[in-house]
Point group: C2
Chain length 370, copies 2
Amino acid sequence: MDHGRRLRRLQALVAESKLDFLLVTHLPNVRYLSGFTGSAAALLMSSEGATVFTDGRYIAQARQEVQAARVVIDSKAPALAAAEWLLGQGNGGRRGSSRPSRTLGVEAEWMTVAGRDRLASVLRGKAKVRPAPGWVEQARMVKDAGEIQRIREAVRLGASLFGIAKKTIRPGVREYEVAAAMEYEARRQGAEGMSFPTILASGPRSAIVHGRASDARIPRRGFVVCDFGVILAGYCSDRTRTVHVGRPSKEGRSLYAAVLEAQECAIAAVRAGVTAGEVDEAARGVLRERKLARWFTHSTGHGLGLEIHEQPRVAAGQRQKLEPGMVVTIEPGAYVPGEWGVRIEDVVVVTASGCEVLTPTEKDLVVIEA
Amino acid sequence: MDHGRRLRRLQALVAESKLDFLLVTHLPNVRYLSGFTGSAAALLMSSEGATVFTDGRYIAQARQEVQAARVVIDSKAPALAAAEWLLGQGNGGRRGSSRPSRTLGVEAEWMTVAGRDRLASVLRGKAKVRPAPGWVEQARMVKDAGEIQRIREAVRLGASLFGIAKKTIRPGVREYEVAAAMEYEARRQGAEGMSFPTILASGPRSAIVHGRASDARIPRRGFVVCDFGVILAGYCSDRTRTVHVGRPSKEGRSLYAAVLEAQECAIAAVRAGVTAGEVDEAARGVLRERKLARWFTHSTGHGLGLEIHEQPRVAAGQRQKLEPGMVVTIEPGAYVPGEWGVRIEDVVVVTASGCEVLTPTEKDLVVIEA
């Protein structure tokens, strides 16, 4: 990853703005810009350069990971260490004037109300705190080639876990036993961990959209929603497949077919220039025709990368235009509370003329004999 | 868990305060008060009652989990749904006056600057937004009997993983293979997941305080720091043990002995009425005498419960007094960058006269034959 190039792009934005400094406190943003993966960090940049602030636990790790920015170790909270360091810089902001007021942009979507108050009290009026635009999120939305490669590898590893699920899902097995087998395989293949708590929701639990693997036993007949992802070299994968244990009813098959058609229509709608809302509508429209729209209670997808949920949101009314290099999930579903649910999800990369589906495409309904 | 009792305690605090409403947005706090475990939620309470706001993904789950509060499903962000609902309540705040200004307390340590701005714009001046005291964190600091039992069970399960580590750690094995075996066992025993990314740091990597299991191979000789925890029924465990592969040098043994003595002195210092800073000093003082204080680059411990890091912080200068029922980790360490590191950690419950160590106590240096 070329962190130097990313920092220079951001520095250019700072230089063109009314801000003298930008304080990055959201850890995935710090990582994106500097490579630092510690759990306590802030990155302060001006048009001149960037400095990562962290604490004594990370002396060795920061030296190893951060190449394109300075590193300052301080026992104070990183954002406050950055503020004190800024005060020590005299009037060296980009304007180089002797006026005492410099302007520090903060990440308003991530900095807490209390955090901003503490920052202001350290700065004692010597610098003004202002919300900065979401520059880093904007930059992160469009992945570079190295990132797409990492996501591709994460998706490939993640997708392979479905084979374990198919082998392990049997009536009477507890949901978490299936999740355990999948997660062991993920680790064995080198994943740093799962990108979110594995969802393994069987029988009536399949209607619980975020039904984490529980101690429930898989019933002799019914859907099992498997939604899972890994983190590999920092990047997330996300995949959902729904299988059926025992012979599916006609209604069950028809529910599955409707969700699959919605998912494929949404994938077909993805291309540069289309809005995220139009992709959502492609899926929602299919389910509306089938009188299933009221059971599709979430949005169609989300960006992913260093985080499992990133911009853009693929949801009703979203006007964000898709651009080549954006990576999003496409995951419509339908859920009848107390009865059943189905969701099917792939990860796609937006291209000029359409998209590339990164997830291997097996999507016919898998029936597991009881 | 008696969520009704927790809500009533908070409602009494709201009633005595200048606030008409309290908006709880930190998810572990929402869970603590209502039992709801979804990933999108806000809880709005007045002295009269409480309402949980979530979205359509969680219809079934919210009905299942929330007993002591109302549930409102809304497609908007939960905090904004709560704000709109509040406006719809007329002037029904606790003062029952016709004045249009009601006061809504928010969790300043958790609400973002942008989140507060969005909230204010929904409220259009019809309610004032003010920071609320950290009531829920204060309440959560002292665990009730049901919580201590859950933590006890999580710690017991977590501690058992060290047996897997001892069996798996061998020269040439990759760090993540050890972590994978431990995590599989955790799942197999019913854990919902790990409470943080497993730290498995061998050889010179043992000096990296937060050295997540990597693809590095365990060397023929050196320390291996294993720091790991599980989530069981929502509650976290946390344990660190450091083993040595191959015969330890005299210096290695002496480093281990010093950290162990520091850890035991800190545990001996824990009792109700003592400050968290005094416990930290008990550990730090031992390492200072051994000329190792400069290598102890973090604090001695932290509270844990629904989150892996909670109040109180057991750190230098912390004036928070320990109270019976507080649960904290005691985990001093010493790390020489590029060379080696040792950390030893237990979880303890504060009692009137001392503490109960929940973690099984085996702490002699384990030597694994190369």
